[in-house]
Amino acid sequence: MRRKLLPFLTIAASLSLAACDVQTEDEANSIPEDSESVETTEKISLELLGSAADETDLNIVRDQLNRNGFDVTLNTQPDYASYRSLRDAGNYDLSIASWTTVTGNPDYAVRSLFTSNGDNSIIDDEEVDALINEAALQTPDEYTETYDELEHELVDQEAYIVPLYNSLKAQAFNHDLLDPDTIRLSKSRAFAWEPVSYNDESMNDSETLMLTQTMSDLTSLDPIKGNDGSINQLNTNMYVRLVNLTDDDEVVSDGSLSYSHAIAEGNSDYYFVLRDDINFAAVEDMEAVDTGDMVSGSDVIYSLNRAKNPDAVPDHRTYSLHEHIDTVSLLSDLSELEETQLTDGSGSVLEALEAELDAPISSVVESADDVNNEAGNYQVIKLTTTEPFPQVLNYLAHQSAGIVSQEQVESINTYDIDNFDITTDVPYGDQRAVTEGDTYDNHLYASGPYIMIQKNDYEATFQKNPAYMNGTENEANIANVTVRFIGDEDSALSALRSEEIDLMYGLGETKYEVVEAEENLTLQSRQSNGVKYLMINVDSDRDVAQSADLRKSILYSINQDEISAAYDGLKLKAYTTVTPLVDTGNELIPDQSKVEEFYQNYEDSAE
């Protein structure tokens, strides 16, 4: 029987021998005396707020603050709405926040977030306000320095925010079906449907292009009444604008209602030559039809005036984007164009506008009936801003500046605005009018390349506008488009792989590998204007609000390289929400000694 013990004793002995050699946790964590690293001290407790979708960021921030001695309590809310209500109530020290600059200009990236009267702002700092206002009036060459100063004030001087990362934007599509050269991925603007074509062009009229988006509950198909992911892509493709953004966020007239545009000397007057080959489309018997009404200057004036007027409609969600518009009018006198000089002094406005035209401007007309571009009779829109503000063009390229039909909108919005009741009144663009069922009564007039035929909880169907720039390269290629509403990213990707949808817009970093492994899929990605940052609750009587030293101690705890590593190394560094738009060269470098130094200052001042 004794022999039976032998194996056990041997194992025991060998394990003990091996074990004597191992390093224990205390030994591993003790700092050698000669090293230069700083000892981490115990710090105060912080409450970190986020929604379940921010799980990765929450975990990394928690971990990094923990390692620098902070005691972090996580408050993870299951959905965005409950997260937002806690954030608005101020129940947090730190909160994950994100921002995407959809207009592609830096003013939009800071105004609502950091000015003392911004609708998303909790910061009240005169210096920040002054810098933002100063930069708004400057041209791109001048504003880099101002935004650099603003970044320093926001981050390393006062530490109002702690930047985390700048994301990539990605889409994947089936290249066996779709022609890769026709698929655009833009930095700011929503996905453009009209250039998309099948490899086999004969399929363009017969096959339906299948797209997808997450949200099925559409805020409003009236461009000024929504500015969110549910309608951004749809409204962008249903309403034409005065100008467009290129894939790199330059403002151009290509594919817009204007042939060309020019900025006059002084940066307050802007001129647009309108084209005459776009008619409004409407829906009759579930088919898109040409109404015969041209998208004219009066519609432009009407659309922009209601865009800037907060009282134009109930639930106006975008007027703050257009607050710099002063007047919009149709030009009646051609001589004004000849006499006005361009802002860069390179010639007259007329020369600049005519450079893009087939037929030179022989006369400017006011009435839509007199327009005849071939004969040289054009409508020219003049827009003036309240102060010199070159970035106004970016706002005009935003979907909220989409052109609607004055006649149609006025005939639908007959309700009394003071007694508006959403339960009985159906305003223009209300999704009830296009939802299949009893309430269906499609009243949309689309000025863009497509018009929505109808929607239900699963998908929305669109048809091409029969009278949209016919014969030009901007005419829509594919006749029918369907947008599937798929709420979950994984399901949308499965749908793409099973060829249920043709293109998926918005793909998470961790899914790149899956897409790249598929033979029939192409992945496109580029830098986006989306920035994630930590919002510090400075509008409260919490410690983080009182002490800039404490905030800076938090700031230098964050290591952006490590965050990127958790996203397959696909996140870019950011300093503020301006980073993707203006190259200021600022970078957040984590520094443990600064963490301890500022924390010591905070403790000293608290005593």
Binding site: A12, Q23, L58, N59, T76
Partner: protein, 487 residues
Amino acid sequence: MRSYQTNQIIEQLKFNNGLTWAYSILWLILSIELQPFSFSLPLLLIGAVNLGFSFIHQLLLYRVRQSAFRADRKTAVERSLAALMIFGIVTGNLFTFISGIMAFKKSLSTGLIYSIYMVLVDMMIIAVTSLNLFKPFVTNYYLVGLSVLIITLVYHSLILAFGQKIYSWNPGVQRIALGLLLLSGLTGNLLVFLVAASFYADNQPYSKGKRQTSIREKLTRNHAALLGLLFISFLLTLALTSTFTFSYSFAVQNDYANILQNPSIQYPFGTDNFGRDVFTRIVYGSQISLSVGVLATAIPLLIGGALGAISGFYGRQTDNIIMRLLDILYAIPGLLLAITIVAAFGASTTNLIIALSLGYIPSYARTMRANVLQVTNLEYIDAARALGQNNKQIILKHVIPNAMAPMIVRSTLTIGTAVIATSSLSYLGLGVEAHVPEWGNILRIGSQYLETYPYLAIYPGLAIILLVLSFNFLGDGIRDATDPRLN
């Protein structure tokens, strides 16, 4: 006519035979490497050795089935085959180990059978704990913890080898031996208590030749239930000892330099998208899964049991009021109720336990009420009443003890459901906080990488499956053992 012991050996060998072959083939399958197609030599070797042991097992099974075989008079060949099979444990084959000892021993008592499983638990714990040696560092108590485990294993092996002769020792030694055995149960090895109880009972006068009627004794005939008990004891021991032998920092601290590493000797189950060791996370996850599972069963067992007993015993209005109130609770789907409670009061372990417990109360009350109604009509209750006992005494002394058996069965089965519910809620982001190592949380991260890094979902999934299966097997075993018709 075969002896009882011979039958026991045959049954055990029949049960283990399929398992040992399956186990060997599993190793062979694991050794296959795709892209490029090749074989991993160490795994192939383990598989081959296991095949060898399985062959011996098959051979022994063939021999014991011959009518000439007598358990008390084994031939030298049979004994050496059995002895050889014990060494299957070196390659992790616990089935040949069990069969080997069963076939090797001269006589089989209940205590001996439990001892085999007790020693197996120790071995598995030490094997799992030893994997920490490959980590960059170990906890401060690691060496002490491992030594205690090894000493326990040595002591348990001694009990396995000599425990059957306990009646021949002098009373002082007996008391010390049993005392030490109970002390070693502090590691969480539940089987220790069954071994101690068996040896203690065997040692009582007139115990020889007594019919085996207790649940403890009858359970040894159900091999699946014993395997379930083995895994539950293993997990419980792991949950208790891991605090000292596993470093919590590997489970919760992010390591950005080692993100999404494939399984290796340092990270047996790989690392997740934050560079945390999935193996350590699963080990620590067992603490939460077991405690939530057990508590979420114990609370409704007590509350529901009490309510059911009261309403069944007193009947009439009391019964009506309690049961109709519980019916309202019963009408709400359990998981939905839990989701509502957690969503309203926030995600934490305490809230999770309360949320899960509430939903189970009505079903326990119903079971208890039905049992109590049955028991109160029996003669011995009338007798107790005739003897002048009051209601309280009757309920506590006669009704509840006689109505408990189905409740125990039910609760064993519910623990598995509770573990699944915990994981489901965590999977939905409504259980414990996301960074806390909990099986559902680990599985949720894994689900995002199902195609690229499948091991992230497979291992926590397996852990959940095994734990739930174990409780189900054990529950079935206890049900059979308490069923008088199966006597």
